[in-house]
């Protein structure tokens, strides 16, 4: 009777413990795609196989340690070889491994089949943000960390989505097969959303392929998974999955807005307009390296405030922003920013933090330069 009680209690404790350990937040998420479910079940199968092997192996070990203690007068029995046993414990693990490899191979094949996608999205990693481009739709935007500085340095309370919030999430339709094409403008990044079970490196000079078909609408959060420099920890990925109809409306709106922006290039912009827009662009794009007050972080990231070389040479300033500086961390922004943004940010840099050059750069001038 006592024995049964003990074994029942042990059983309950074990189930309780495994409930806690396997609960959400402790274990790999099941996720919201068929692939993520498959991977989760593979993970659990291997995990339990390891648990069983562990119980057997450690059981035998602790039995021996307890049973054959010298302090209890154990005498050693001399034997040191047994070919049959040795062959058996080579073969059995081999069979277990084959058993694991079969479902793993099937899942992997499925993951590698990115054919017949309904939508292509180009994902470009940049220090330290993501750029999303809906291929063939003329819609693209940057996605930056939206957690305020004050939360990071501890002067404000941290909210629930601390470090996992962006200014513009990647919006994807549910139920459609979305092909992700990943590359990078600078160093290697890795785009990862645990709930989608997609982790793929974004490598400069390569275009990698992965795909996702999301089953449930929702907001799914992840992070850059490959060390990519100073702000590697501050480069979240947020995916907003919406119903297909909602997605189509959203995409149409974005297309419209992009067209509007393109028209803005031709008109004359006032200094105030450019400064306002420039400050916003600077804050999302430039401040992570050159700092919000333009003080930079030399030697890798030069100061812009009081940078006489740049302030004396307006053409060089424009060239630096548009074409980058090869061999340094300064990327070319010609494909990332539109002419309005380039003009605005250069105007801002030339008139902020005591750089009083008084220059106003018009988007039309930049557009002309870009088309050369």
């Amino acid at each position: 009777m006592r024995k049964r009680l003990v074994s029942m209690a042990a059983g309950l404790a074990f189930t309780g413990l495994s409930q806690v350990v396997l609960a959400n937040g402790w274990n790999m998420p099941v996720g919201v795609t068929d692939v993520s479910r498959e991977i989760h079940s593979l993970h659990m199968i291997i995990f339990w196989i390891c648990v069983v092997i562990g119980v057997v192996v450690f059981g035998a070990m602790f039995y021996s340690l307890f049973r054959y203690r010298r302090s209890q007068g154990a005498k050693a029995t001399q034997f040191h070889e047994h070919t049959t046993v040795e062959i058996i414990w080579t073969i059995i693990p081999l069979l277990i491994l084959v058993g694991m490899a079969v479902p793993a191979t099937a899942t992997l094949k499925n993951m590698y089949d990115a054919s017949e996608a309904d939508l292509d999205v180009m994902v470009t990693g940049q220090q330290w943000r993501w750029r999303y481009e809906y291929m063939g739709e003329e819609v693209s935007f940057l996605s930056n960390l939206a957690t305020p500085r004050a939360q990071i340095d501890g002067s404000d309370a941290k909210d629930d989505t601390y470090l996992l919030e962006v200014d513009e999430p990647l919006v994807l339709p549910t139920g459609r097969k979305v092909r992700l094409l990943l590359t990078s403008d600078d160093v290697i990044h890795s785009w990862w959303v645990p709930d989608l079970a997609v982790k793929q490196d974004a490598v400069p000079g390569f275009v990698n392929e992965n795909w996702v078909r999301i089953n449930e609408p929702g907001i799914y959060r992840g992070q850059c998974a490959e060390l990519c420099g100073r702000n590697h920890g501050f480069m979240p990925v947020v995916v907003k999955a919406v119903e297909p109809e909602q997605f189509d409306t959203w995409l149409a709106q974005r297309k419209e807005a992009a067209a509007q922006e393109a028209m803005g290039v031709d008109r004359e912009w006032s200094r105030e307009e450019l400064m306002e827009r420039g400050e916003q662009v600077y804050g999302t794009i430039c401040a992570s390296c050159h700092q919000p007050d333009g003080s930079g972080n030399p030697p890798a990231f030069p100061a812009l405030a009081g940078n006489q070389t740049l302030m004396d040479d307006r053409e060089r300033h424009i060239d630096t922003v548009v074409n980058g500086v090869s061999g340094s961390a300064m990327p070319a922004f010609r494909s990332t920013l539109n002419p309005v943004e380039v003009a605005a940010v250069i105007t801002y840099e030339r008139n902020a933090w005591g750089n009083e050059t008084g220059d106003v750069i018009q988007p039309s001038a930049i557009a002309e330069q870009l088309s050369d």
């Binding site: 937040g25 274990n27 790999m28 092997i53 035998a60 001399q78 094949k109 420099g229």
Partner: protein, 543 residues
């Protein structure tokens, strides 16, 4: 093989005894010069071990900085760029400065003693190999005070983060790694020459203690892969300073090529850090089970199989880099295969315990903890080998948990087991029992508190190498940090044990452990400066 032994070397110096002190020999240099010029395998072994312990503490301080910053979410103590320098330097110092030199130090001390050789085969080369290391690591550490800071791209230094986007100090990092690599290659050549040529008459290869066997195989691995490391860092050097584009996509180069080259070195490298550990555990467990090692021959074959397989699995570190499907499958299968010889080793250790007569002296405690905790690291390794699942595990704290389990309670515990096992032979005294036990238990608790929660943090989605994290990872990180502080502080006990043991303690006889059967237990404790000047009378056990 015994018939090809070289002639017995003639003694060229005064014979002195007493724990490696050459005092009294009029022509022997004294003070600093003695250590600078020594060609004695025991003195060089001691130098390696002291160097390794120093690096263990420096790398440990870096780890404490990392854990202090990660104690809570938010940036409190350091800036991200310094955090990245800390993770990078912690890894580099621990791998190249602490673990590898510790094994070379143990090999220097124990390989000649275990095979009945008077010294290493190439004593002057031995001196040179050691003294390269302090130079290399002083240079590496000096990058911390250079403009732009120390290397900040992780110990795996993936290009182009480590080339185009690297701090100016990277060139110094490359040079120091070159020096450390030369040191390793020369050390490996010396060990191979010693084992193949200087065994006691009558000792066949299959009579050698497993520590000797595992080191022989490790030395071949070192010679095979250190040149690959040298090649890849030279390509980096050219990219950084001479305008080439090996890894620069804008110039037609290939960042993924870097990873192939690095891991072709890197995966055998991780076995370089674990095979000698297998050897140490394989000599300690039989001693304290008072029973011969079970499956000696299969242990040797398993070690060799692991070494050979280590050349065929490198791309399992690159499952999400965009490999073609066939490559994913090949590297998944080959990686899973490693579980077979590794399993054989674990089964052999446990069968050695079975029906033995087991006692639990400090070296045995560490060896047993090694078997259990290394196996846990093996399980997570098996999980990581499953390529589809690795798409979730990759570059998360699950990986950090995995490799710390095989490196800390794996390699480091085995080194400590070896130190406790051979301290009586080195110093003539037993280590203080109570302190050793305290050191062991605090280390075991600390190491598990540190690294076990990392599994959960990783599975829940925490990427590695981040200085700040989302709130759902806060509890795991707090436990990990507390565990790390406990583990770090406990290592001060280890230093206390070693210092006390050098200065005094219970006297040890030649055969310090009752079950010790190998040749080192036939020379007095402490071992005189020169041993086996006449080859010992070796009687092989029936394997």
């Amino acid at each position: 093989m015994a018939s090809h032994l070289p002639p017995k070397p003639t003694a060229q110096y005064e014979e002195t005894a007493g724990g490696g002190l050459a005092a009294g020999a009029p022509h022997a240099p004294r003070g600093m010069m003695r250590w600078l010029l020594t060609t004695n395998h025991k003195e060089i072994g001691t130098l390696y071990l002291i160097f390794s312990l120093t690096m263990f503490f420096i790398g440990g301080i870096f780890a404490m900085v990392i854990r202090a910053e990660l104690f809570q979410p938010g940036l409190q103590l350091v800036q991200p760029e310094f955090f990245n320098q800390m993770t990078t330097m912690h890894g580099l110092i621990m791998v190249f400065g602490a673990v590898m030199p510790a094994f070379v130090g143990l090999a220097n001390w124990m390989v000649p003693l275990q095979i009945g050789a008077p010294d290493m085969a190439l004593p002057r080369l031995n001196n040179f190999s050691f003294w390269l290391l302090p130079v290399a690591f002083l240079m590496l550490l000096s990058t911390l005070v250079m403009p732009g800071g120390a290397p900040d791209f992780g110990w795996t230094f993936y290009a182009p983060l480590s080339t185009t986007y690297a701090p100016p100090s990277t060139t110094f990092f490359i040079f120091s790694l070159h020096l450390a690599g030369i040191s390793s290659i020369l050390g490996a050549i010396n060990i191979i020459a010693t084992i193949l040529n200087l065994r006691a008459p009558g000792m066949r290869m299959m009579d050698m203690p497993l520590f000797v066997w595992t080191w022989l195989i490790t030395a071949f691995l070192l010679i095979a892969v250190m040149p690959v490391l040298a090649g890849v860092i030279t390509m980096m050097l050219l990219d950084i300073n001479f305008g080439t584009s090996f890894f620069n996509a804008a110039g037609g180069g290939d960042p993924v090529l870097f990873q192939h080259l690095f891991w072709f070195f890197g995966h055998p490298e991780v076995y370089i850090m674990i095979l000698p550990a297998f050897g140490i555990v394989s000599v300690i467990i039989p001693t304290f089970a008072r029973k011969r090692l079970f499956g000696y021959a299969s242990m040797v074959y398993a070690t060799a199989s692991i070494a050979i397989l280590s050349f065929l699995v490198w791309a399992h570190h690159m499952f999400v880099v965009g490999l073609p499907l066939v490559a994913e499958l090949f590297f998944m299968y080959s990686t899973m295969l490693i579980a077979v010889p590794t399993g054989v080793k674990v089964f052999n250790w446990i069968t050695t315990l079975f029906r033995g007569s087991i006692s639990f002296e400090p070296p045995m405690l560490f060896a047993l903890a090694f078997v259990v905790l290394f196996t846990i690291g093996g399980f997570s390794g098996l999980m990581l080998a499953i390529s589809p699942a690795d798409f979730q595990y990759h570059d998360t704290y699950f990986v950090v948990a995995h490799f710390h389990y095989v490196l800390v309670p794996g390699a480091v515990f085995a080194i400590m087991a070896g130190v406790y096992y051979w301290l009586p032979k080195w110093t003539g005294h037993y280590p203080h029992l109570r302190l050793s036990q305290w050191h062991f238990w605090l280390s075991v608790i600390g190491v598990n508190l540190t690294f076990f929660p990392m599994h959960f943090a990783g599975l829940a989605g925490m990427p590695r190498r981040i200085p700040d994290y989302a709130l759902q990872f806060a509890d795991f990180n707090m436990v990990t940090s507390l565990g790390a502080f406990l583990f770090g502080a406990s290592q001060l006990l280890f230093v206390a044990v070693v210092i006390l043991c050098i200065r005094g303690g219970e006297k040890a006889p030649a055969r310090a452990w009752e079950g010790g059967e190998d040749l080192e237990w036939s020379v007095p404790s402490p071992a005189p400066l020169h041993t086996f000047e006449t080859p010992p009378d070796f009687k092989p056990q029936q394997h």
